[in-house]
Amino acid sequence: MKSICFYFQIHQPMRLKRYRFFDIGNDHYYYDNFANEDILTRIAHRSYIPAADTLLRMIKDSGGAFKCAISVTGIALEQLEQYVPEFIDRMQALVATGCVEILGETYSHSLASLADPEEFALQCKEHDDKILQLFGTTPRVLRNTELIYCDEIAPQILAMGYKGVITEGAKHILGWKSPDYIYSAADAPDLKLLLKNDALTDRINYHFSSDPITADQYIAQIADTPAEEQIFNIFMNMETLGETQPAESGIFQFMEALPRFAAERGIGFITPSEAVDTIPAVASLEILHPISWADEARDTSAWLGNDLQREAFRKLYSVAERVRLCDDRRLKQDWMYLQASDHLFYMSTKHRADGSIHSLFSPYESPFQAFTNYMNVLADFIVRVEEQYPLSIENEELNALLTTIRNQSREIETLNKELASARKDIDHYNEERKARATKA
């Protein structure tokens, strides 16, 4: 049976406030609370909430036949909890139906997988914990930031306990192959890959308003594919429903009509976990260079395409190990927020179609302003990291010193315990002696 695998992504970064270089060393709060609340609340009310309600209705009306996957970054969850808690309730209701799977991803929507494997693992773990705490489930399939994937990170993903990864069905990788099958990772055969079907996704994502399509026609497109093609991965941002394609376009009605027409044509819905468990891989797919779902090139050039982006990225991860060593909570929190790939996305100097998408999302007037502002913030952040541990000490030496300190505190703890129990013994002995003396 053919199955459609819907996946919706939710992410909102912590946008930075205008941070001048003379603030470096003086002001350690970096975020534009007003803009963040304003944007999140607007998008939640235009898109996330009506979309969640629509999905819930689709599940109920279809008697559980409709299924989909959702992922929300940790940073977005934090903001949603704070500004739009009613959306978290809806998410919990969706998860409770058993028809919605929550996927794993990096907590901060970061590019850690490209720079720092340790950080990547930590962030996925942190995100899994957050999901468990809020929704009571542990993700089994990973959605790395912006569907970034390459062979190099596959073994690590498998080692972290994920059974599958969703990524882009990039044309330059697939060639003549179809995205509508399950593939396995070249360097980790047990890891399954789900590839996004570009044409079906863009039909909704980009062209729905300009060239409307009915649910009937859309399902017919899927039904008319060769019989061997089993899974149709339609991965998009949740904002597509209601924001990119506004409610007036009829996008919600289109979605609601899908399950009925799918049922008529004998097409089902499937979650990524079910797909990974039930559909065997047809072949292994070699992906040497990282791919993603962003920009025309479908690579990492949206974030690391120019010198500005690369310098910011290098500078940021140059302090990664230091930050992990320390345990200042605010510092760790800023570390998460600053890693969001969005900050790099705003620095893109691409033109034409790609460029217009970058500037559409950017809170800055130009990539240069985005770079300047971010680097000023980063400069202050690095000053704070240095205050914790001077840069003159090598990481290894620092590590050794920290281990010594930790060992010593453990030793002191043990000794204290011993001392306490010895004191207790003495007290006990004294009491007994006193009792004996009075008896005598």
Partner: protein
């Protein structure tokens, strides 16, 4: 197509941006082919480039009949005008101007600069325009800036040929709003009489429409461009101090916003000591700026090398790490493009016309000294930003060429002529 252009300056003898722009545009139009351009200026020196336009000096145009021999004319002005043309012009003197001060050839002497009796020179220029218009054959008249509008109007009245005026600046830009009524009237008269108006930016276009009350339908923007630099200029390697150099280059007048540059410098120097600031140029605000720099306590790192010309300008740029143009009102502003050609990242005010076409520069409001200081610091402190702006800026500015602007002007000619 034959065009009769009136201008005031022409390289190499230029006093401001007008000469550079007139030259570039004329050359660009010539590159497009099928253009026969006659360019009238008050006073040619004989070393102007002539292969793409016939240059006529108003100071060689007779307005009073003198009985002179061919040899005498050849000896007197042969360097800048052929005797044939002189005699043809002499045949078209249209009134008795003997009451005016003329020389042995019956011509008026022009300074070709901006003297105190500028209004008189403008009128005299317009008198010679009458002779030229009666003599030559052309399809269209094109006047560059307000000084030559009366000449253009005169030529139009004599021949009935359509007039296009080119607004390189308005008095609102020069005076920050306190316009000189005489200048305003000359400007408005030119705009009302013109069949079409070309402005160098949308900023100027808005001024023409809103402040002079002109019908938007007859105002079109054609942005300026730059002429590629010769390799001997690109190869200039000036010696520079070990600190980073941030440069302001231009007239130190109210229009250019020099005080914002000084204030931004003070902000940068408070946190970053690895920088020197240079304010190159002269003007009526210079003394005030020297005093301001001293008052802010930054005089040891803020330098005034005076007016720079020709090659010195490029030497100055090649020693610079950042170029700043904080103009309060700049119709176009060609200097940031020149800085970009020399590989110097530029910060320009949003109130400048060139901001409309440039991408690889940092744009700030002229009054936002915090943003300006931040941008200066960023270019100085983050090498990758410097490199990105330099490389992409160079690539960008190389695409802004005069032949494209020239083609737009030719298209406007065709429209005006009803082709």
């Amino acid at each position: 197509m034959k065009a009769l252009m009136f201008g005031w300056e022409f390289p190499p003898h230029i006093l401001g941006g007008l000469g550079t722009a007139s030259y570039g545009l004329t050359r660009g139009m010539w590159q497009c082919g099928d253009m026969d351009i006659t360019f009238v200026i008050p006073k040619p020196f004989g070393d102007e480039e002539k292969h793409f336009a016939n240059i006529i000096g108003a100071s060689q145009v007779p307005i009073a009949w003198r009985d002179v021999s061919r040899d005498y004319v050849e000896q007197r002005i042969g360097r800048v005008m052929s005797p044939d043309l002189y005699f043809r012009l002499r045949d078209h003197i249209y009134a008795d101007f003997n009451y005016m001060r003329t020389n042995d050839l019956g011509c008026i002497e022009f300074s070709g600069r901006y003297p105190d009796n500028l209004i008189d020179e403008i009128n005299n220029y317009s008198i010679t325009a009458g002779v030229i218009a009666r003599t030559l054959d052309f399809d269209i008249i094109h006047s560059h800036d307000w000084l030559t509008y009366p000449a253009g109007i005169h030529a139009k009245q004599v021949t009935g040929k359509p007039l296009v005026i080119h607004v390189h600046a308005t008095d609102f830009d020069r005076s920050r709003g306190n316009v000189n009524p005489t200048v305003f009237n000359i400007e408005r008269d030119g705009m009302l009489n013109a069949d079409h108006i070309i402005t160098v930016s949308n900023l100027t276009r808005d001024t023409v429409i809103n402040k002079y009350g002109i019908d938007p339908a007859k105002v079109t923007t054609v942005h300026n461009a730059v002429t590629p630099l010769d390799s001997d200029i690109l190869d200039i390697k000036a010696s520079k101090p070990k600190e980073k150099v941030v440069t302001f280059l231009g007239r130190i007048t109210m229009q250019k916003g020099p005080e914002y540059f000084v204030e931004a410098a003070a902000k940068v120097l408070k946190n970053n000591h690895n920088v020197r600031f240079v304010m190159a140029g002269s003007g009526d605000k210079m003394d005030e700026m020297i005093a301001l720099a001293a008052k802010r306590g930054i005089a040891d790192r803020f330098h005034f090398p005076g007016f720079q010309k020709g090659r010195q300008v490029y030497e100055m740029l090649s020693a610079s790490d950042v170029y700043v143009m904080p103009s309060v009102s700049e119709p176009f502003g060609i200097s940031p493009l020149e800085a970009m050609q020399m590989g110097v990242p530029s910060i320009i005010s949003k109130q400048s016309g060139c901001a409309e076409i440039l991408t690889n520069v940092i744009k700030t409001d002229y009054w936002d000294i915090d943003a300006m200081a931040d941008a200066i610091n960023a270019i100085v402190a983050y090498p990758s930003l410097h490199k990105q702006l330099k490389d992409d800026g160079l690539a960008e500015v190389n695409t802004i060429t005069w032949d494209k602007a020239g083609q737009k002007v030719i298209d406007i000619y065709h429209k005006v002529l009803g082709h």
